[in-house]
Structures are given as structure tokens and as C-alpha cells.
């Protein structure tokens, strides 16, 4: 039979020699090792000041994107909530009033859009389901808090700022295969990343 591990050692119950029974050489050997570690480079990352680099496709908490004119892209179709395996997303749809064209891109929009970050498993299926390129996962981390209710993120936290300089960059999530998928004719109405593909 093949051995299960290469690290197996045969136990020997031999009497310890005098040097072994002295203990002191072994202790000194151990102290040499700890002293070596004393001067070694430390592995600690002092978190808020220092951050470990994230994976380029890291899935942190969501952003609701705006289009190039600053209007919200979300049309409250509910596909993200449907796709969500953790049932973390809820939304209330509302109709766009005349004069709100600069606020909402489509005729229907989400007046309430909430994601429960304690339920969310950050799988990214909402992003995949979204036909409007409105929701993306970002490299931002959900911060700790004292109340459960504070983990239900509403539009105040999810929608990106209208200011062009303060937009949340999610281009890192647009890998080559994602962009290829989005170049299908059915996605022609989206301009956010399909334009970048053509360029």
C-alpha cells in the first residue's frame, strides 16, 4: 500500500542519553531559534496605516453607478434581488417625474435600495444579473459597527457621488472575459464599459 504521508516518523522509545537528559543543550538550542526570530522581519501589517494589496478582482461592498451625466443607472428591475442567493437586497421602485431626467437615467428608478451587509456573501451575482451596468462590487471594505441596523446600507452609502472626480472606479472588475461578454449585441444600450471596449 502506498504511504499516506512522506513525513511519517517511526516512534522509538529508546532511553535518552545523558546529554539529552541534561535538557540544557536543547534549551540553549531553542533559545537560539527564538533569538533568531527576535531579529527577523515581522509579518505584522499595521492595518489602518498599512493595507495588504487586494486581489484585482476583490469583491467588497457595492456601488450604484451613475452614467456620464450623473444620472443613476439603476432602473429597479429587481434582477439583482432575484439573483441574490442570500436575499440581501430589497428595493422599492418609483416613477421618474418630468424634470428629473438629470437624476435618473431610465423612466423607472429605485427610490429605496438597501443591501444588508450582514446577509450579503459578496458573491457578485447581483453584478452579473444587472442589465444596466448599475451595480458593481468594489474593493471597499464593510466597516465594523455597533448596531445590526447600521449594516443595512441604503442609497446614501451605495450610490456613488455625482461629482466626476469622486466616482468609484470599478474598471478593475472588468476583466477581459467580462468585456467580451458585454460586447454582445444585447448589451448595446449600455455605454459605461462597452464604449471602453470599442476604443
Amino acid at each position: 500500500m502506498q504511504a499516506l504521508t512522506t513525513r511519517a516518523k517511526v516512534a522509538v522509545n529508546k532511553k535518552m542519553t545523558f546529554m539529552e537528559r541534561l535538557y540544557l543543550p536543547a534549551i540553549i538550542g531553542g533559545m537560539r531559534i527564538t533569538l533568531h526570530h527576535f531579529f527577523k522581519k515581522k509579518v505584522t501589517v499595521c492595518y489602518p496605516e498599512e493595507m495588504r494589496p487586494f486581489s484585482p478582482v476583490y469583491r467588497g461592498y457595492h456601488v450604484l453607478k451613475r452614467d456620464e451625466n450623473g444620472a443613476e443607472r439603476c432602473t429597479a428591475c429587481g434582477l439583482c434581488a432575484l439573483a441574490c442567493p442570500a436575499e440581501a437586497i430589497t428595493m422599492t421602485a418609483a416613477e421618474r417625474k418630468p424634470g428629473e431626467e438629470n437624476l435618473y437615467r431610465e423612466e423607472k428608478y429605485a427610490s429605496v435600495y438597501e443591501i444588508n451587509m450582514l446577509r450579503c456573501i459578496f458573491c457578485g451575482l447581483c453584478e452579473e444579473a444587472c442589465p444596466k451596468e448599475a451595480i458593481f462590487l468594489t474593493d471597499r471594505i464593510v466597516h465594523t459597527d455597533y448596531k445590526r441596523s447600521l449594516f443595512v446600507y441604503g442609497k446614501d452609502k451605495l450610490v456613488e457621488p455625482a461629482d466626476k472626480d469622486k466616482r468609484i472606479d470599478v474598471s478593475k472588475r472588468q476583466t477581459k472575459s467580462v468585456l467580451e461578454f458585454k460586447s454582445q449585441p444585447g448589451f448595446a444600450h449600455n455605454t459605461l464599459y462597452t464604449k471602453a471596449l470599442k476604443a
Binding site: I27, M31, T34, H37, K40, V43, C46
Partner: protein
């Protein structure tokens, strides 16, 4: 020296030694955590102040703010007496240690030692023995089986190791011919450190010092993992702080005693060649003693974060079957060598 000058000088010296003991104990807790961190490839506390040097203050504040719990079934007076004894005995041991030679100010001579009793070593042994009572009383008064087990372990361990420690000191006293710590320190000027003449005695003393201060590998009275803190399981707030603090003061004093008995105390080789004024030389001596002492404090921590603790039967076996015969052999050896060189 007039009485008033004498009293003021002694009061100031007591105050300085007391506050330095507390300061060193405070920063030993910080150093312990730093050393532990560094030896485990971590950084240790580094948030409170630069490099975390305010950590002991934060810990102290935390200790004071904690709820003070005295168990219903405990013996209340003994429960309070335990940590008080532990703290008291560890504070008074610093009285006989010669911290330096003497300062000469305005025609007076001020020895840098609180009191030079001619049986300084016996005083040290006696006071550390009383220290066991603090642990025993605390463990017994808690009325908790883990505490009692811890206290039992502590008392049996400390009594066993005190014998070997005493016997190691007897060999040293045979060599030095005095029980006064000041004379022992003064004899070791230059490179005549006792560790050269008493290497075996030093080794035994060092091992016993680890056992007496309840440090790893002999920290069975506390053994966090098996006895949930041992004798101080039921303690909280500053009474727990007193126990922990007493342990660190003990470590500080043990390091001072080891440096004084075996490593020349305040003596600094070649310092006489520098031709400094006696006062400056005395202050340099104090600094040199503290350098030795800090090394030993580091050594205590170094050992703690290297080796695991002994099993209880191994501990007692080592004490009774190895260290005591070995220290008796050391006494015989010392006597024989002294007889050979016609010193007696």
C-alpha cells in the same frame, strides 16, 4: 551625619528605590509583551503612544476600572490579605540590594543602599519565603478548587526550590566569607565575578530563581491553560493587578540579586582607568548594574517565550532529585578546592 540628614537621605533613597521598582515592574509588563511579540514574529503593543510605550498606563487604568469582585464563599479578610502580602514582600526585598557604591556630597557619604544588614542574604531568603504565603492565602481564601490547586503547587514548588537555592548560596557564602550583599558586591571588583568561581552554583541559583518567581518553565502555580490562572482565578481588578505586579517586581529583584551575587553588581571592569570623580563613578556603577539587571530581565522573558512548562512530577523530580544533590555536590566541591588552595 546628623539625624535629620540621615532620615531625609534614607527617606529619599527608599522613595527612589520603591518608585524604580514599580517603574521597572510596569515596563517589564510592556517589555514582556514586546519580547513575546518579537519572538513570535509579531510587533507587540504599538498603539498607545509611540511604540506603545504608554501601554502600561493604559493597562493600569483598565485594572483600576474593572469591577472588584469578592466571592461570597471566600474568606474576605484572607482574600484581601493575600495580594497585600505578595505585593508587600516583593517591595521590601529591594532594601538590602546595593545599587551602587557611595555618593560624596558636602562632606557626607551616602551609600546607595537602603540598609546594609550583615545578614542580607538571609533577609532575602526569609522575605521571599513569606512571599509564598501571599499566594497560599490567596489561593485558599478564594474557595475555588483551581485556586487551591494552584496554591498547593506554588507552595510545594517554592519550598522545594528554596532548599536548592539556599544550598547554592551556602557554597557562594563559603567562597565569599560574608553574608552582607554589600561586601559580596565589593569583593567582585574588576573581573573577579563570582560566576567564574561558582559556575555550577550560578546555574542552580538561576534555575531556582525561575522557580521562585513562578516563571516559565516553572509557572505551574499559574498555568493559564490548565488551572485558569491558578491561585488568582477568583481575583479581579487591582487585587489581580497586585499579584501580577508582585510577580514582575520579584523578577526585577531576582535579576538584581543574580547580578549582585554572581555578576559583580555595580562593579565595572576598567572604570578606574578612566580617572573619573568618585560620584560620577558611583552613578556609572548604578547604570552598569541596571544594564546587567535588564539583561537578566530579558533573559527571564527569553526563556519564557522559548520553552513550555514542566509537568508537575518532572518539576518535583528536578528539584529534589537533581538540584538538591547537585548543590550539595557543589558545596563539597567548593570546600575541597578551598582546602586545596589553603583558604581554610
Amino acid at each position: 551625619m546628623g539625624l535629620s540628614v540621615f532620615i531625609i537621605y534614607k527617606a529619599i533613597l527608599v522613595l527612589i528605590v520603591f518608585s524604580i521598582s514599580l517603574f521597572m515592574a510596569m515596563y517589564s509588563t510592556y517589555a514582556e509583551r514586546k519580547v513575546a511579540g518579537f519572538m513570535q514574529d509579531r510587533l507587540g503593543p504599538n498603539r498607545a503612544g509611540p511604540f506603545g510605550i504608554l501601554q502600561p498606563l493604559a493597562d493600569g487604568v483598565k485594572m483600576f476600572m474593572k469591577e472588584e469582585i469578592i466571592p461570597n464563599v471566600s474568606n474576605k479578610y484572607l482574600f484581601i490579605l493575600g495580594p497585600s502580602i505578595a505585593m508587600f514582600t516583593s517591595c521590601i526585598t529591594g532594601a538590602v540590594i546595593p545599587w551602587g557604591t557611595s555618593l560624596h556630597i558636602a562632606g557626607y557619604t551616602f551609600p546607595l543602599q537602603i540598609t546594609d544588614i550583615n545578614i542580607g542574604i538571609l533577609y532575602l531568603m526569609a522575605v521571599t519565603s513569606i512571599g509564598v504565603y501571599g499566594i497560599m492565602i490567596g489561593g485558599w481564601a478564594s474557595n475555588n478548587k483551581y485556586s487551591l490547586l494552584g496554591a498547593l503547587r506554588a507552595s510545594s514548588q517554592m519550598i522545594s526550590y528554596e532548599i536548592a537555592m539556599g544550598l547554592a548560596i551556602i557554597a557562594l557564602v563559603m567562597h565569599t566569607g560574608t553574608l552582607s550583599l554589600r561586601n559580596i558586591a565589593a569583593q567582585q571588583s574588576g573581573w573577579h565575578w563570582n560566576v567564574i568561581y561558582q559556575p555550577l552554583g550560578f546555574l542552580i541559583f538561576l534555575i531556582c530563581a525561575f522557580a521562585e518567581t513562578n516563571r516559565t518553565p516553572f509557572d505551574l502555580p499559574e498555568s493559564d491553560s490548565e488551572l485558569i490562572g491558578g491561585y488568582h482565578t477568583e481575583y479581579s481588578s487591582m487585587k489581580l493587578g497586585f499579584y501580577l505586579f508582585a510577580e514582575y517586581i520579584n523578577m526585577f529583584i531576582s535579576s538584581a540579586v543574580i547580578s549582585t551575587l554572581y555578576f559583580g553588581g555595580y562593579n565595572m571592569p576598567f572604570v578606574h582607568r578612566l580617572g573619573l570623580s568618585p560620584n560620577l563613578e558611583a552613578i556609572l556603577g548604578v547604570i552598569f548594574l541596571f544594564a546587567k539587571l535588564c539583561f537578566f530581565i530579558f533573559f527571564f522573558m527569553w526563556v519564557r517565550w522559548t520553552i513550555p512548562r514542566f509537568r508537575f512530577d518532572q518539576l518535583m523530580g528536578l528539584g529534589w532529585k537533581v538540584l538538591i544533590p547537585l548543590s550539595l555536590f557543589n558545596i563539597g566541591l567548593t570546600g575541597t578546592i578551598m582546602w586545596w588552595f589553603h583558604k581554610i
